[in-house]
Symmetry: C2
Subunit: 540 residues, 2 copies
């Protein structure tokens, strides 16, 4: 920059105030369920003071008072714990708290210290972090952030391409972008409860398979192209220091099992936390995102209970990307729409003047435009109808005039926007269709449909059903559960039993590869139309 310039930052591009869902509506939250098998088991130990006649090492002195710890031979404490022990014993009058993980002391703390851990849901678009009491599961602080990798690619595939083409340095750039954000967020959350991130003893990070590969700097070349093979989909434990996370010296990060290359630990965590497959009901679980992952528990329906899963490349359109006036779910985003003959009714987040349109608003728009006949069954804008106009040779529907918006500019829905949404909607609908087909179930067999994640929790069920994104069954069967993957992460953070159960669950869930499903292209093509909703006879 050589002289004074003016920089325009479109209001709709600001992401600082983005609405990031960190809570869930599940009853089975970690706080309510005391862990059956704690990852960190606390012991409060008073030890006899040493002398020339009792010169045992500090660690032996402590372990002698620890019935649960492993016997004479073998490892007994991680190096970081041993480093802190002499100081703690001498500062706290020969009392100390030992936190034992799998027969090994993972940390020593002051006798009254509250051991904390961090649970993370690492999404393609955003990440949510929860600071958790390791003994009770209570959430002490939580917050969300946009995934800073967005600058390197909006969806999973473009991130993988960046990591592959950029070589080790590209992969590192992506990994560090996330770990730096996670480090900052952990410092901030810890500060809120007057601790530091160095007090974090344990961490659990769920996410889709690609995000976890990138985070762990696992090779992704083989994941980026068919047959889409993960380096691993088994649970993994890694030192926090290995990920440059500023936690306690020997803090571990637990990465739960994934199902396949495109069905990750986040779906497993969601399925586990929501209890899908724990009873005989037929339940569909959907986490709509840049990749939409779907799980179906067939229940006892045909005598052969199965858990099936797949992933649909729904793209980032529901998050406002690739949509002309699209934006993330932040203040001023249109989130509800009802079209009228004379006037359109809209509602924005925080009720501020509209600056763009977010995912739930776009769903409303498509459903309403179809209802009003502005779109035909194949999703084409109908020229000549009220609101439909030509702009640079292409049709678009004027949703809000510039005079009524926060930016002074029109908010239109273009034919291209409609096409993007129908591609995304078609992908999800096709996924559900394939799952039902493979399991031999019909829509009516579904006892419940769980919608997880931010978009699934904020969307308007009636319009999502009307435009064919969601199956046309009673709204009463739907449950919008919020960030269930975060719930699962918190349970696996504190409970060894949850880790084992979710790992077993991951192995139980079958994966259906759409790319090799025979009829997929036909099903997908059929799923993109808008024939679910009949426009009223009195279409304008």
């Amino acid at each position: 920059v050589l002289g004074s310039i003016k920089i325009d930052v479109p209001l709709s591009s600001l992401i600082s105030e983005q609405r990031l869902l960190v809570s869930s509506n599940l009853n089975s939250s970690a706080a309510d369920t005391p862990p059956r098998d704690r990852v960190l088991q606390p012991y409060h130990i008073p030890v006899p003071q040493p002398s020339l006649d009792d010169p045992r090492s500090d660690l032996e002195r402590v372990l002698a008072a620890l019935p649960a710890v492993h016997p004479t031979v073998g490892l007994s404490a991680v190096p970081g714990a041993v480093r802190s022990l002499p100081g703690l014993l001498r500062q706290h009058d020969w009392q100390v708290q030992a936190l034992v993980r799998g027969g090994v002391v993972a940390a020593f703390t002051a006798p009254d210290a509250r051991p904390i851990g961090l649970a993370v849901d690492l999404g393609t678009t955003k990440l949510a972090a929860y600071l958790v009491d390791m003994l009770t599961g209570e959430v002490l602080a939580s917050d969300g952030r946009p995934n800073p990798q967005i600058g390197y690619g909006e969806d999973v595939v473009s991130r993988l391409v960046y990591a592959v083409n950029g070589g080790p340095q590209g992969a590192k750039t992506l990994a560090h972008a996330v770990t730096n954000t996670l480090a900052d967020l952990s410092r901030e959350l810890a500060a809120r409860i007057s601790l530091t991130s160095q007090d974090i003893l344990e961490c659990c990070i769920v996410g889709n398979t690609a995000m976890l590969h990138i985070l762990l700097e696992l090779p992704v070349g083989q994941l980026a192209s068919a047959p889409y093979i993960p380096a691993t989909s088994l649970p993994l434990e890694i030192l926090a220091a290995d990920l440059n996370l500023p936690f306690a010296g020997d803090a571990r990060v637990y990465i739960p099992a994934c199902v396949a290359g495109y069905v990750g630990a986040d779906l497993v965590a969601m399925t586990y936390a929501a209890g899908i497959g724990k009873d005989n009901r037929t339940v569909l679980g959907i986490d709509i995102g840049t990749n939409t992952e779907i799980v179906l528990s067939t229940g006892n329906h045909n005598g052969n209970p199965r858990m099936l899963s797949l992933s649909c490349a729904s793209g980032p359109a529901f998050e406002g990307a690739h949509i002309k006036a699209g934006m993330r779910a932040a203040a001023g985003a249109i989130e509800m729409i009802r079209l009228g003959l004379d006037e359109n009714w809209i509602k924005t987040i925080d009720d501020t003047p509209p600056v763009g349109i977010c995912g739930s608003g776009i769903i409303d728009a498509i459903a309403e435009m179809r209802r009003m006949g502005v779109l035909n069954a194949r999703g084409r804008l109908q020229p000549g109808l009220p609101g439909v106009r030509e702009n640079a040779g292409k049709l678009e529907y004027l949703l809000v005039r510039g005079g009524e918006t926060g930016t002074g500019e029109d908010i239109p829905i273009t034919q291209n926007d409609v096409d993007e949404i129908l591609l995304a909607k078609g992908a999800i609908k096709a996924g559900i269709t394939v799952l039902l087909e493979v399991s031999g179930l019909k829509l009516d067999d579904l006892d419940e449909v769980l919608l997880a994640g931010a978009f699934g929790s904020y969307l308007n069920l009636d319009t999502a059903i009307a435009m064919g994104l969601l199956p046309n069954i009673s709204v009463k069967k739907y449950k919008q559960v919020g960030n269930a993957a975060g719930d699962g992460a918190r349970q696996m953070l504190i409970s060894s039993a949850s880790r084992a159960e979710s790992a077993a669950l991951a192995r139980q869930i079958e994966y259906i590869e759409l790319a090799s499903y025979p009829a997929f292209r036909r099903i997908y093509a059929r799923s993109m139309s808008l024939d679910e909703v009949s426009p009223p006879a009195s279409a304008p």
Copy 2:
């Protein structure tokens, strides 16, 4: 430096060519004993190529072919191993070697790779490193280096003081001095067999308790003053990366058990490798160094077999320090001496002109000076006898005239030199006396005396016995075993059974604290005299 100057580097100060003992004479070397329970168990695995119909992750694919690895749930491979797997499988036609440690894959390598590890004996004065085949125990390359911490203190206590007074930075300085040297040495050894230090998968480091504390950056304040409490004396496993060692990503460093604050893992390793305590014989094991550690296995002698140990602060005099013409065991060091009426006979290392005197030479000198009557029974130089002269008001014995030395300067033995040696000799003799006293044994009950370490292996037994450093028993009962601690380190490097057995041995060995032994001061004072050797009646 402002102008041209001349720098004199005394020949006797050069340490580059120091003789560092890395070999041992024990029969039970690791190479001869195939490990009963390998630390790294190799499996050669061909795996089926993935496809859209078999999209299992690389790791699952490999583990399915691995019968020995742990079942479905739980951790299955360290992160570094997973990182290398996709590349290896695709470069080597779907064949890979898995190296399994305790049910977890510690590393994947090319199918024909030879897994290597590094065993280290970390002494106060020097360190010895062995590059070892992890499967056969064969030593592939080995070498020694002076311990670079010498610049911060010659003996254990002064190093501890430096670490305590220097705070965390002082402790770090000492730790990094050693790890940097170890890193360089490991690179050099690996290069000798056309590998890199990154190929080192496992490491075992033995040393005395203080050296290991400093290496691991464990707190040492409580170890430096009575009652001399270690942070831990149990076995410890630490990531090589944690010690800044340039080994394979997830390489582990095994630190064996110590006995007490001043009886370390090196004595345990020596005792284990030499098999002391494995049979019914009464065996004394001595590792003479800056600290001399002694172990006594009482055998079946009085129906109550015990293993006893203690440590004597013998100081660095035997390594040439605090001796006016003293030097380390390098070329030109006098290592053997016979005094005559007319002429003194000396032998130097490498037979070069003498520049100083090393440990075994000093022992010879004292014994011979006593034999010739130059020293009386209390260790005082006798004025007026041949060779005895005054220098700056103090007595000294002229061993070699300047005209015959490599430096042109006289090589004397001063009264102060004699005092230093008698302090050291007294400490060791007192230690042996206490061990026999505690166990109710007499000198004649000893079946064997093992001398380990460089000094013990090079010293001349007859003069060492004559001047009272070693017990006056048949020379046939002595065995100079070389670096037995290094042997033990190599066994523990490759064998889990050796780790368990040596850890059990460490717990079995009792520790005697000389500082609280009632009669110690009296015994020590008595042990310093030279009354073992009667000068011949015809003394000059």
